[in-house]
Structure formats: C-alpha cells, structure tokens
Amino acid sequence: MGKLFAAIVAVIAVVSTAIFVKHLWWMPPDISVLGEGIDHQLMETMTASGVLFVAAQLTLAWFVWRWAGGPGAEGRSIKQFPGGPTPMVVIATVLVGIEVLTLSLVGSKVWAGMYLAPADPGSLRIDVQAEQFAYYFRYAGPDGRFGGLHPDLIDDASSNFFGLDPANDTTARDDIVSSSLVVPVNKPILLTMHAKDVGHSFYVPALRIQQDFVPGLVIPLHFTATTPGKYEIVCTQLCGLGHYNMRAYLEVKTQADYDEWLKSQAAQ
Amino acid sequence: MIPRVEASRASQTGVWAGIAGITMMFTALTSAFVVRQGSGMDWIHFRVPALLYVNTLVLLVSSGTLELARPRVSRAAALGDAMAQGAAIWVAVTLALGLLFVCGQVLAWRNLVAQGLLLASGPSTAFFYVFTVVHALHVLGGIAGLLYLWRRLGQAPAFLAQPVYGAATLYWHFMAVLWLYLLLLLTVRL
C-alpha cells in the first residue's frame, strides 16, 4: 500500500509540474510597461515553488516507500531524523524566510509602481463606469473637461449611461462615451473608476492589471500599453446574474488610428 | 465525589471566555461605528436621552446589591451542607434592578422615537440602537442567569450555589463595565 501511495504521489507531482513548466495553459503575452515586473515575480515564485513542491512530494513518497512497516521490517529498529526537529526549524525559517524577504522586497517595488506611484502628469484620463452588466468609458472631448455625474439622470434608453446633464452643464456636452476602451499605444493612461450599482472589477490579463470598483468611491488606475491589438476586459467581482457576460475590449491603436477614432466619435 | 472546586473554576473560565467573545463583538461594532462616522456625510449628532444616566445608576447599584450576597454565600459554603441564609433576597433585588434597567432603556428608546430619531434615520441613531439593544439583550441573558441562581440558592446547599454565584456575578459586573464603556462612547462620539 505504501508503494502504491508513493507511486501515485510521485507521478502526480512530476506530471503536474511538467504541465506548469511546459506552459500548456499560460498567461497571454504581456502588453504593459509594468507587466514585466509582475511576470518576473511570478516566474521567480514559480521556480522556487516548483522546486519545493517536487522536493516535498518526492521526499514524502520516498519516505513512505522506504520506511514502511510490515513483515519485512520486523527486525529493524526505529530511529529519529538526525538532529531531531532542529534541522526542520532551521530549514523552514532560513529558507522560507529568505524567500519571503526577497520576494517581498522585490514584489513591493512592483506593487508600488502600479498602485502607489502617481500617474504620469501627461496621462490621458478616461472615466470608467461599471454597472450590471457592462462597462462604459468616457473621454473628456475637445474641451478637455469631464461633465458632472447625476445618478438620477441616468437613462439607458437614451444612452445617457453616466447621468450627464448636457442641457445645463456645458462641460458635459462634448463628453464622448464608448463601450470600448480605446487608447493610443505607449501613452500613459489614467482611469478613474466608479460603479453605478454594486461591486465590479476591472481585469485585463494582457495588461497584468486588476482593480475592484467600489460603489461610493472613485478609484484611480494607471497603465501604459505597449502593443496594438484588441484585448479582453473582464469582471472578476461577482456582481449578479450577468457577471459571466460582463465584458468589454481594450483596443490599443497607433496614435494616428486613435486620433482618427476620437474624431469620428466626437462627430456623433 | 463531587468536583466542587472543578465546577467553580470551570464556570469562571467559561464566563471569562464569554466576556472575551462579547468584548470582541463590541470591538467590531465600535470599529464599524468609527469607520462609518468617517465614511459618510450624513452623521446626525444628537444627545443621548438623560434617562440613560439614571439607568446607569440603577445598573451600578445592582452590581452593589449583588455583591452584598457574597459574604453570605461564602460563609455558608464553608459550613458543610448549610443553605446560604439571606443571600437570595439580595439576588432578587439585583434581578429587579436589572429589569428596571431594561425598562429604563425601553423608555429611552421610546423617547428617541418620539423625537423622530429612528433606527433608519441615520447612521448615528442606527448605531445607538444597535449598541444599546444588543447590550440590553445580554443583560436579559444575565437576568436569566440570576433567576437560575436565585432558584439554586433557595433549593440547594450553598456549596452547590457558589459556583453559579461566582459566574453570575462576574457576568453581571461585566455588563456594568460594558455599559459604562458604551455610555462613554455614545456621549463622546455620537
């Protein structure tokens, strides 16, 4: 029975690690300026964990195989691990301690770069509203200013998703509302995120970015996309029955294409 | 063989553990209170009804009356199978004062309602009711314990009543200490 256990555990450990190593299912290529830091952190952790995982499982399997009791072991006397518990305490504290320290130090810089560092002063600001079950993105328009928001004026039928008041608010008149997040490549973007109804989240795997929307708060999030293309934005905070279908697209365009898009939107 | 020392110690430990749990609950509510006060612009400041101070006095006196039973219980418990003479009456007085406290709280709530300060009027009133109602419910629990103690004192020798007395008294004094804390919180920060 011990041999069977050892075999099962060993096979599982090796096969599952191999699948990780071969990247059979893996992250999409990263298109963000800050993505490299995250990918690096992930690979470091994956390598350390992979080694520890395989070592632990194979040691467990080997010990179970080797130290089985039963008729063959009658004559054998029991013994304790050399050094008693001390090697375990030392290995765990030192090895894990060093890993923890290193990963925390490096990781904190990655985290700070994304969530603590202020946005680039020249960022393109885009206002984002999350609702059951869609995202809407708002651009300031030619006047460069965003109109005020009035929840009581929200009317989906007339596409007034944000609750703008163009009749009385001049800054709101030229605001551009889009259901896609269109940005120019290599330009720092600053999103200001708010939710209309319940909690949502903004997740773009390709950008290695994620942030919850909290009703009642306006949350800033910044990024810079490095590769043109169309990328999924998905909601990761359970928001109701349409949560699985709450999706938008990030379209990263060349500056020229972006300008053209913006002009065509403003014309509407 | 009756584990009399065991029962006494265990009931004390049980009440201390209960005190830890109840304290944690009110700590959570206090932090919710502080966070909520800072998070919205809709805090209606109001003064707690003056009746609350009278109720406080009643509760503090009741702790005193409960303590008056202590020497009577200990003396009798040291004397074999003796009943605790004259202890039950002080427990009954405490019980009555406890009920008086709860009635006083009910009157205070009605006073607020008459002023138009309801549970849903705003976060300050909501927390006032939550704190005082939850405390009053725990006091009612203490009153149930005092009832049990009263019965035990009347029908069993003092050495069997002593663990119950110790537990009930510890819990009852805690209700008073907790109330003093809540009163302070509500009068200062409401």
């Binding site: 130290w67 013994k79 923890v100 942030q211 990761t236 | 959570a28």
Partner: protein, 593 residues
C-alpha cells in the same frame, strides 16, 4: 434540610456525577452527553456534505458540459432550469449555497464540533464537557441555523447569488439586485448569525474543559495533539465568530430596516435609485475577512491535530518535535488574525496596507512549513502501518503541500494582481479546505469509528476509498491552477462562445474527475452504514495507541471512564518503547513514573 432541598441536592449531585439518562429523548435527542452531541454534529455534517457535494456536481456538469440537459433538474427547478439547462441565477445560487454549506456546516462542524466534542473530554480525562447544557444548546442552535439556511432554497426567488462571501452592496440592497437577493439573502444572514451563536457556545465549553477539567496528571504538556488543536481552534473561533455575528446583524438591518451600514449613496440598481446613503462596502469586507481568515484556520487546525495524533500511532515512534509542532499550531492561530487584508489587496482599500498584510501572510508559511517538515521527517526511520486512517494522514500531507504552495503565490500582492478572482484561487482553497481538511475528517472517521461504535470499518473499502479519492481530487483541483494562470475568471455561471474556449476541454476534464470522485465517496458511505451495524467487533485499543480514549471501553460508558478517574503519568508520544502490551506505553501506565 427540608425535603425539597434534599431532593434538589441529590439531583444536583447526580447531575454533577453525570448519571446516565434513561428516556429515549434524553438519550438520543436532547442529550447532555458530549459523545452524543459530537455524533449529532457529525451526522449534521454528513447531511450537509451530501447536499454540498450534490450542488458541486450540478455546478460542474453545467460548466463542463454546458449544453447537457441535466435529467430531472427542470422538475426541481422549473424556472431556474427549464429544459434541464441551468440559468445563470440558478448556477450562482447553487454556488453560494455550496460554499456556505461546506465552509460552515461541514468544515467547522465535523473536525471541530464533531470529533472535538466527542473526544476532547475523554482525551483530557473528564467525564463530560464543562457546561453540558450549553453544549446541547450549541448543537441545536447550529441545527436551527442549518434549517434556516436550507429554507432559502424554498422561498420565492430562491437562494442568494452573492457567493458565500456576500459582498455588499449586492447582498445588502435587497431584491433589486437580482433573483435570490430577496428573502433568500436575508435568511442567509440570519442563518449565519445563528450559526455564530452556536459556535460561540461551543467554544466556551472547549476552553473551560481544556483549562479546568483535566484529570490528575494531565498537564497541558501531556495533552494529545488533537486536544491542543481543538483548544487553539476554540480560542480562534471565540474571537472570529464574535466579529461575524455583528456583521451579519448589520447586514440584515441594511436589508430589512432601512439602515445604510454598507450601502453608499447614489446607487442605481434595476433602474431604481436606492434609498440608502453613506455606507461603506469595504466595511463589510473588513468585518467579513477579519472573521474569514481565522475561519479557514478553524477549518484546518483540527486536521493538523487529528493527523498528527493518528500518524504517531501509525509510525510507532514519537513524532518529530512534539512541542515544536504544537508551537506551530499556536503560531498559526495567532498570526491568522493579522492577515485578513490579503483577501482585499485589490479591493480599493489603501494600497499601502497591502505589504502590511502580505508580510505576515508570507510569514505564516514558516510555521506551516515547519509542521509539514516535521510530519515528513517523522516518517524517517519509522515502521509505517498502512491503514485507511494513516493513508488519509499521508494524503493530507501531500495535498496540504499542494494547497500551501499555491497560497504562496496569492500572498504576494504583485502576483495577486494577476491571479485574484481566477480559478487559481479556487484551486488553492479547495486543496487546503475541500481536500486537506476533508482528509483530516476521513482519517478521524476511520481511526475513531471503532471507539465510537465498537465496530471496525472495512479496511479494504477504506483503502480503495483513499487511493481513488487521492487521484480524483488531484484531477479536479490541480487543473484549476492552469486555468487560473490562463486568466480564467471564477464565479462565472457560464462560458460564452467568445471566452476562453481553449480552456473548455480542461473544464470537461475537471467535471469528469469531480463526478468520478463523487462516485468514489459511495464507498465511504456504504462502509459507514454497513460497519455501523455489521462491522466486526472492536476491542478497547485496536490501534495500540497511547491516549486516554483507548483506555476505556468501545464505545465508552456514559461518564467515559466508569467509576474511576484516570490518572496520567506520561505524555501521548510513548511509541517505540517496551510496554506491557507491546511497543508502546499508555498515558495511564504508571511504570517507572
């Protein structure tokens, strides 16, 4: 003394001496006996896990084979599954109830309230728990909580859809937020509040019994691992459940009384401007996770204690570093209180606090690693006995390693940015809770069944149960990590045609593994029921173990030890020494003491 006083005294003395009840109701239903209460908790957990497992099969069938019409489902859910295919709201309600039932009514009851109630008093040499009446109350309160929760399935609009975490405002605004968010969500809040009360009453008993009712010679240092684990868990529970209770109270008030603890102003839901203002959704998250993180340690620490206890008896030598192991359990319990924010890195809370929560989270890895290394290191030089119980202990080590390592990723905020909300998280917590904690429960069952019922469970069936389950659970939960790395989001009621189609074969594989593993559990159920009535008779100490439960009859008499109080002379680790019965010395053995 007058006659009523004599009667009362005799009754009180009888009560204190724990004389056996005679009526059917007192013996089997409203029992004050901790052994019956423990069995009642285990019975409740068995019912709950069956319900929870069926819910998970339905969920997996839907995700793995979305077009497959589940037979009979439309009969049970004419609105939610017309034609046998689940609507999103039905999926989410099954998912919410699955999580709630499993975390509360299986993982908090069976390993802790179930086995703990049965064995803690015996292992410390007491006749019963300190407060038998409160103990009985704690079970019935928990039972009522279960009924209230299950009632949510039957109300109009059905069970809630906000997940077991019930984030606000979705869970707080009422029925505007969607199906299930009416009465169903309120029942959820009430049920969990009631559950908290039951567990708080239970914790009082565990703490007082451990500290004050230990028999002569049973110092704290001589307590078995499982007793230590239950004691530490009860202290954690006392603090944690005391926070969840008021949180649920405030949630219910927001829902029914018009307060705004968790709901800010200006929300427009279902085209209606909600009449709330000023509340904080993050407040709910903080309160919930302040409970929620210690809760997962409440779920796993009894497992630590149980497998350590069982492993010692099966390696026939002392475990490596007994005091270190207990210290690790205590350290994990203590640290569990300062890490809750790691569930909230991306929640919108101040990003500066991320590292404050991440560092202690990573530090918990240290005692967890030490414990794991101590278990593995204990195998060195052992003479391992392979029983169903010990196999599940060894399996525990393997799956705990797997689950713990995936936690290592999530503990780092920079990596959590990518993995939060994906199947990576689902794989992680199922490994540690859904598998490791369950393996602890299985191990405890196979080990203690002979003591509780005086009969052995079938070992062959048990070993098949183990081997097939081990393969099955890896087949279910390891692939979830791959899904997560690919960015597959969790809590999705369906995968639309334009989402992650490359992952669909993996989902189908997981479903097949889940159904296979579910079917394998039949071996366990059959074994339980058959052995209960026809299992071969078990002696007092079938495993040649050292602790107090093995020094009394199988099952123990009403007051646990007959008319004598056991006296303890040594610790629980005396395996591999020459004793009167073999290679061990029981804790009650006075030789050379």
């Amino acid at each position: 003394m007058t006659t009523p006083q004599v009667r009362e005294t005799k009754a009180k003395i009888a009560e204190l001496k724990h004389e056996a009840p005679t009526s059917f109701w007192r013996k089997n239903v409203f029992s004050l006996d901790h052994k019956m209460i423990g069995k009642q908790y285990l019975g409740l957990a068995l019912v709950a896990v069956t319900v929870g497992m069926i819910l998970s099969w339905l969920m997996r069938l839907h995700l793995g084979f979305p077009k497959f019409a589940i037979p009979g489902l439309s009969a049970v859910y004419p609105n939610g599954a017309a034609g046998g295919v689940m609507t999103p709201e039905l999926y989410l309600s099954l998912m919410t109830m699955h999580g709630t039932i499993m975390v509360f009514f299986v993982l908090t009851t069976a390993p802790f309230a179930g086995f703990g109630n049965y064995f803690l008093p015996i292992q410390v040499g007491a006749e019963d728990m300190a407060f038998p009446r409160f103990n009985m109350m704690s079970f019935w309160v928990t039972f009522v909580a279960f009924l209230v929760l299950v009632a949510a399935f039957f109300v109009p609009q059905g069970a809630p859809i906000s997940g077991w975490t019930a984030y606000t405002p979705l869970s707080a605004v009422g029925k505007d937020a969607g199906p299930g968010q009416g009465l169903g969500q309120t029942l959820w809040g009430l049920s969990i509040a009631i559950f908290c009360i039951g567990q708080l009453l239970g914790s009082l008993n565990f703490i007082a019994t451990t500290l004050d009712l230990r028999t002569k010679g049973m110092t704290l240092a001589r307590m078995p691992y499982s007793t230590w684990a239950w004691f530490i868990t009860s202290v954690i529970g006392l603090i944690a459940f005391a926070v969840l209770l008021p949180a649920c109270l405030l949630l219910v008030l927001d829902r029914v009384a018009g307060t705004s603890f968790f709901i800010p102003a200006g929300l427009v839901i279902s085209d209606r401007l909600q009449p709330h203002s000023g509340g904080s959704p993050l407040l709910w998250q903080h309160l919930f996770w302040f409970f929620g993180h210690p809760e997962v340690y409440i779920a796993i620490l009894p497992g630590f204690g149980i497998i350590s206890h069982i492993l010692a008896a099966h390696i026939r030598k002392p475990l490596l570093g007994p005091r270190v192991l207990i210290g690790c359990m205590a350290a994990i319990g203590f640290l569990s209180y300062i890490v809750w924010g790691h569930h909230m890195f991306l929640s919108g809370m101040n990003p500066n606090s991320a590292m404050l929560f991440s560092v202690p989270t990573l530090i918990i890895t240290i005692p967890a690693t030490i414990a794991t290394l101590l278990w593995i290191g204990s195998l060195y030089g052992a003479k391992l006995r392979f029983t169903a119980a010990s196999l599940f202990c060894l399996g525990f080590i393997s799956v705990f390693v797997s689950g713990g390592i995936s936690g290592f990723f999530l503990a780092q905020p920079s990596i959590d940015i990518y993995l939060h909300g994906t199947y990576f998280v689902v794989g992680h917590f199922h490994f540690v809770m859904g598998v490791a904690a369950m393996f602890g429960i299985f191990a405890g069952t196979y080990f203690w069944f002979p003591k509780m019922f005086g009969r052995f469970m079938n070992e062959t069936l048990g070993k098949w149960h183990f081997a097939l389950t081990l393969i099955g659970v890896y087949g279910i939960f390891m692939p979830m990590h791959y899904l997560g790395l690919a960015g597959n989001v969790r809590r999705y009621a369906a995968f639309t045609d334009d989402y992650m189609q490359s992952a669909q074969p993996l989902h189908a594989f997981i479903t097949i593994a889940a159904l296979f593993t579910g079917a394998v559990q039949l071996l366990f159920f059959i074994n339980l029921i058959y052995s209960r009535f026809r299992g071969p008779a078990a002696p007092e100490n079938p495993w040649q173990a050292t602790t107090l439960e093995w020094s009394t009859a199988s099952p123990p008499p009403h007051n646990n030890f007959g008319d004598r109080h056991p006296v303890v002379y040594r610790g629980p680790d005396e395996y591999g020494v020459k004793g009167p019965e073999g290679d061990y010395l029981m804790q009650t053995d006075p030789t050379g003491a």
